[in-house]
């Protein structure tokens, strides 16, 4: 009797240990392949992780967001919120962003700073894409800018890089994983519908992330930092949006 109890105990303990270590191994593997979002904690974490991992596995570098015809460009392009009201931004804006420098640092071989004129001189990409706001409305517009990949290549991204962090003049900092950072449709956009980006749309330069909801395409960029971890930035959830209740990954 006693023997049998010990044996059962051993078997259950063994199974539990195997199950637990299996889970830990699976989580490690998923993390190594970049399948776990930084805001994976809490009661909604399982849903977030499933969505992010599934979409990451489905999408490739070559899957492009749909592009449209000029005739489909929307006449109404709404704006959520005014430009930043801090002194630094207002001063730069007064001088037509001539003194603005786009800083690239972190895990790069050559930390750099580019002027708006320099960015505009780089090879550009123009794309007419659909943007849906998480609220439900949407519009189509034409965006022109430097592919983020071009600037990352100039700076020389180190192999241990896992995220690119975007720091704007307003509180809405954000980050992209490397598949989205290297994606051909991810732009540092300086023009909308053929004209310089209007201030409420993110002047001088905003991010365009074509395969995610609108709030991921943050405005008023100042600096990007390449990093291997998001843990020490803000609350460690990858962007400002989870801190106010919205998910980091917005491919929906």
């Amino acid at each position: 009797m006693k023997d049998r109890l010990t044996r059962r105990k051993w078997i259950t303990t063994g199974l539990a240990a195997a199950g637990a270590s299996g889970l830990v191994a699976a989580a490690r593997l998923a993390d190594r392949y970049g399948l776990i979002p930084p805001d994976h904690g809490g009661i909604y974490g399982a849903g977030e992780t499933l969505t992010y991992a599934t979409q990451r596995l489905l999408m490739s570098y070559h899957s492009l967001a749909r592009e449209f015809d000029r005739s489909q460009i929307s006449k109404v392009i709404p704006v959520n919120g005014p430009p930043p009201e801090n002194e630094t931004y207002e001063l730069l804006r007064e001088h037509d962003f001539k003194d603005w420098r786009f800083v690239v640092d972190g895990l790069v071989a050559r930390p750099s700073a580019f002027s708006l004129a320099e960015l505009k001189a780089f090879p550009s990409r123009t794309q007419i894409t659909h943007q849906a706001c998480e609220e439900g409305w949407s519009f189509i517009a034409e965006w022109t800018g430097v592919p983020l990949s071009y600037v990352l290549n100039l700076a020389g991204v180190r192999p241990q890089a896992r995220y690119v962090v975007f720091l704007p003049f307003d509180p809405f900092w954000d980050s992209l994983d490397m598949p989205d950072a290297w994606h051909p449709q991810t732009l540092l956009a300086y023009a909308m519908n053929g004209e310089d980006l209007p201030a409420p749309h993110g002047a001088p330069v905003r991010l365009r992330v074509a395969r995610q909801l609108g709030y991921k395409s943050i405005k008023y960029l100042a600096r990007i930092t390449v990093t291997d971890t998001l843990k020490n930035i803000g609350k460690g959830w990858g962007s400002y949006s989870p801190e106010i209740g919205y998910s980091w990954y917005a491919g929906i």
Partner: protein, 234 residues
């Protein structure tokens, strides 16, 4: 009760374990989807047709609801996707079971005889006269029930998943046909809303019929798997 009467508790198997478990998981996740879907809708209760739409453009429906822009769609989206995963994975288990166990063929597909005009009109007229829930009818589904469940399982839920995926810029970058077949991202959103309306209609009728047919016995059958009735004999 007269002295000397004999009571016999008759237990009859009604729903198998897979059907019961998937039924309640679907019920819970559908509740989550409904509440969170409503929270998301409140951020912009206008519906459009085509690719785009915003305040300042023509809508096809302006729902009589307030615009709630105080961040209710944040938790709404988190809960919506968590519930959607539970619902879809549950549905997958149910569908695989339904095919392999012949549950769909035996319990949901109407028999050819049931599709005759006389048979159909009798069932419809019974429903219209609220003649429901005879013991014999409880043992299996009538043709209207079968048709309704088939619609919900094979038309409405798949349409919800399709239109939901068609709103995702990430998914449509891989499968653009998901959204182009529907006529655009805003069309997908509108169809998502309309089909959700049909599912709510189903839920209301479903619960009403359960009440009409004997709430306790039917809910007990969906929990324990058995129907019990007490036969009293002299």
């Amino acid at each position: 009760m007269r002295a000397g009467s004999v009571q016999a508790v008759v237990r009859e198997a009604r729903h198998c374990a897979v059907v019961r478990i998937t039924h309640w998981l679907t019920a819970v996740s559908f509740g989550g989807l409904l509440v969170s879907g409503f929270a998301i809708l409140l951020a912009h209760p206008r519906l459009y047709w085509g690719e785009t739409g915003a305040v300042g453009t023509d809508s096809i429906i302006d729902l009589p609801l307030p615009f709630v822009l105080t961040g209710q769609s944040g938790w709404g989206r988190y809960l919506h996707f968590l519930s959607a995963w539970v619902c879809v994975l549950t549905g997958l288990v149910y569908a695989l079971y339904g095919i392999s166990s012949q549950h769909f063929r035996n319990d949901l597909l109407p028999a050819r005889a049931d599709l005759s005009w006389t048979c159909l009109s009798r069932v419809v007229s019974n429903h219209l006269h609220l003649k429901l829930a005879t013991a014999e009818a409880f043992a299996s589904y009538n043709v209207l029930q079968r048709f309704t469940y088939l619609m919900v399982v094979f038309v409405l839920f798949p349409f919800m998943i399709w239109t939901g995926l068609a709103m995702s810029p990430a998914i449509t970058s891989v499968f653009p046909v998901l959204v182009s077949l529907l006529g655009g991202q805003q069309s997908a959103r509108t169809i998502h809303f309309v089909v959700a309306g049909f599912l709510v209609l189903f839920l209301v009728v479903h619960v009403a019929m359960v009440c009409a047919g004997g709430f306790r016995s039917r809910v007990r059958a969906m929990i324990t798997g058995y129907t019990t009735s007490i036969n009293v004999r002299a």
